[in-house]
Amino acid sequence: MDILNALVAFLNFVFIPAAAYGAQLALGALGVTLIYGILRFSNFAHGDTMAFGTAITIIATWGLQSLGVSLGPLPTALLALPIGIAGTALLVLATDRVVYRFYRVQKAAPIIFVMASVGVMFVMNGLTRLLIGVDEQRFDDGARFLIAVRDFREWTGLAEGLALRSTQALTVIVTVIVCAALFWFLNRTKGGKAMRAYSDNEDLALLSGIDPEKVVRMTWIIAAALMTIAGVLYGLDKSFRPFNYFQILLPIFAAAIVGGLGNPIGAIAGGFLVAFSEVAVTYPWVKIAGYLAPGWEPGGLLQLLGTEYKFAVSFVILIVVLLFRPTGLFRGKSV
């Protein structure tokens, strides 16, 4: 019984939150890695573009809700996603046309692209605030729980409860589908192969008749879809506030770099690695230890780091990887 309680507490407070968070990070890191691999720069505007895409989706959700459209137990935001993706794709394509293409034609150094993306980040940040304001928005509707704590306790009679929010399950499922679709696209379609060829060697790709501008456009559209989906899932599961999207930029980059920049499998693994480390390091293990080793009463909470230092975990992972394995766990391009 005690072992079961320990397992349930672990699932409830560590595994489920970390899995959902990891899936959100993985989607974000996939976008970062894609842009790095093909356009060859670290896109600092990633977090704020996610916020922009989410903002459009939220507005479309409100529109749908006022028309009385709903998906039953699923959040209406899923229906509004295509609108959000289209809006974000238009915005990033316009940004590319106005900002990045200028530097691409000049064959500017990657660091110049990075700096330009910092500027783009501030503009997007302002755009999002103009569009939807700085306040917190909640736009989840439909069923909140797949498993609610009280029901679980009644079913099993355990002291510990288990909660599984529908948004957490949805996050993981959508992430799996999106990843599968992306890998299928990259490995099986002509467009995907062109993108990989362009990523491997720009000049050779050009010689074999691949239109570079077309590859760039395709990359931005796919990245916009990834960013919007990641942003909406994060907003559904937690809450939407423009500033928070700026903050998750760091864990997303940590995830992409840990996995190896430019490597999609690495981005997914990195996302889960960062999420699980953040949660495990800041979780107080005293309760679980109490179940597993009855009679042992540790003085403290068995917490490695206070929850205020959550973001520090991403920093530490980032530094350790850059020091000892700059290409990341899955052999991406070196930073």
Partner: protein, 394 residues
């Protein structure tokens, strides 16, 4: 004879003109910043008291009072200090109704008001630190200290049979002061605090904070935060993971927003916030309605009382010099004397001018303790069936 009459009349006129003066009263509130939504209601309360005094023409031989406003920003101590410096040195105010938040009030009091000997009466700074601050008798407040709220909260919890509690507070002067005073009071009454941890406002996700609180455990969770900030986030995460069923809400959390956010999910939880009851408050609400603002806006009534106390203090001391009238503020606030409700400032001035005594009750049932702050009345509320009901007053 005619000349003599004329001279006497002229003399009387001159004498009258010399005694009446134009008194400037500073209003230092956070018109911008995290509590900017409250400031207009507070200013309206203070202006209402000033207008009432001016209309009666009874203050210090018909002196008129003009309000001078300044932005204290609520969070930026340097900006608040600059504002109060301007009010005192450039505008020459005789007293200040403000500041709004605890941190800026402490800074402007210590840096400017004390050095220049100007009275400050804050309607809303509730930090326990202001109770013991060195103020040369210049600082008063019409809002109760959070130390008192901590005691009230601990008493309510013990009466409900709660043995142990986890505490989480918003990471600022208000949250920390309230949490610390609660922990001291709860432990003094035999309760056990399992953990006392901060949370930061404005985050997307509080599951990590709640996991830590849940690991420490307890019969109830005290959430000393803000309802439209991290406080609600913590409650949401605690409900979702089933970490706590019973919550205790201090003043920053008690509000309609809490019911709107959680409805029936917080059945069985309870809380308290400072709110006076009675005739004075109802009268103030009526006057506010006539004047065209919402008297229930937080600390509006306390602002009315703060401005009224300064002006009545001047009348009782027969001087607008802060160093003279600071001694009579306690006299007008407390017994003995005739009880004064909102709308009766003219009557109070008349009594004071005739050498009588008043006991200012005002909109928020003012009763000063010997350190110059109100003892405070708290409203105890409970949440049942998705509604907030008032249980009683303490």
């Amino acid at each position: 004879m005619k000349k003599l009459l004329l001279a006497t009349a002229a003399g009387a006129l001159l004498a009258g003109a010399a005694a009446a003066e134009e008194i400037k009263l500073g209003i230092s509130l956070g018109y911008t910043g995290p509590l900017e939504s409250m400031a207009p209601g507070m200013e309206a309360g203070a202006q209402l008291a000033i207008k009432e005094v001016n209309d009666s023409k009874l203050l210090l031989d018909g002196s008129t009072v003009t309000a001078v406003t300044g932005d204290s920003t609520c969070i930026d101590a340097a900006a608040a200090t600059a504002t109060v410096t301007r009010l005192i040195t450039a505008e020459g105010v005789k007293g200040i109704m403000g500041g709004q938040c605890s941190g800026e009030t402490i800074a402007s009091l210590q840096n400017v008001a004390l050095a220049n000997g100007v009275v400050m009466v804050s309607p809303s700074a509730t930090s326990p630190a202001l109770t013991t601050i060195e103020d040369n008798g210049l600082f008063f407040r019409t809002a109760p200290s959070d130390a008192r709220q901590g005691e009230v909260m601990a008493t309510i919890m013990r009466e409900k049979g709660i043995e142990s509690a986890a505490v989480t507070y918003t990471n600022n002067d208000y949250g920390k002061g309230l949490a610390d005073s609660f922990v001291a009071a709860f432990e003094a009454q035999g309760g056990k605090v399992t953990v006392n941890a901060a949370h930061d406002d404005g985050k997307a996700d509080y599951s990590a904070e709640v996991a830590a609180l849940a690991a420490a455990g307890g019969d109830a969770l005290v959430v000393a935060g803000y309802v439209d900030q991290g406080g609600s986030g913590v409650v949401r995460a605690a409900l979702d993971t089933g970490a706590f069923d019973t919550f205790v809400f201090p003043d920053g959390m008690v509000g309609q927003a809490l019911v709107d956010n959680f409805g029936e999910e917080i059945n069985g939880s309870f809380g308290q916030n400072p709110a006076a009851e009675g005739e004075g408050r109802e009268k103030f609400l009526e006057m506010a309605k006539t004047a065209g603002f919402d008297g229930t806006s937080a600390y509006s009534a306390e602002a009315y009382d703060a401005a009224a106390l300064i002006l009545l203090g001047m009348a009782a001391a027969k001087s607008s010099d802060p160093n003279v009238y600071k001694n009579s503020i306690m006299d007008v606030a407390n017994e003995p004397g005739e009880k004064i409700l909102p709308g009766e400032l003219g009557k109070a001035l008349e009594i004071l001018n005739n050498g009588g005594d008043v006991d200012y009750v005002g909109a928020a049932a003012v009763e000063m303790t010997d350190v110059g702050e109100t003892a405070g009345v708290y409203r105890e509320v409970s949440f049942d069936n998705g509604e907030m009901t008032v249980v009683g007053y303490r």
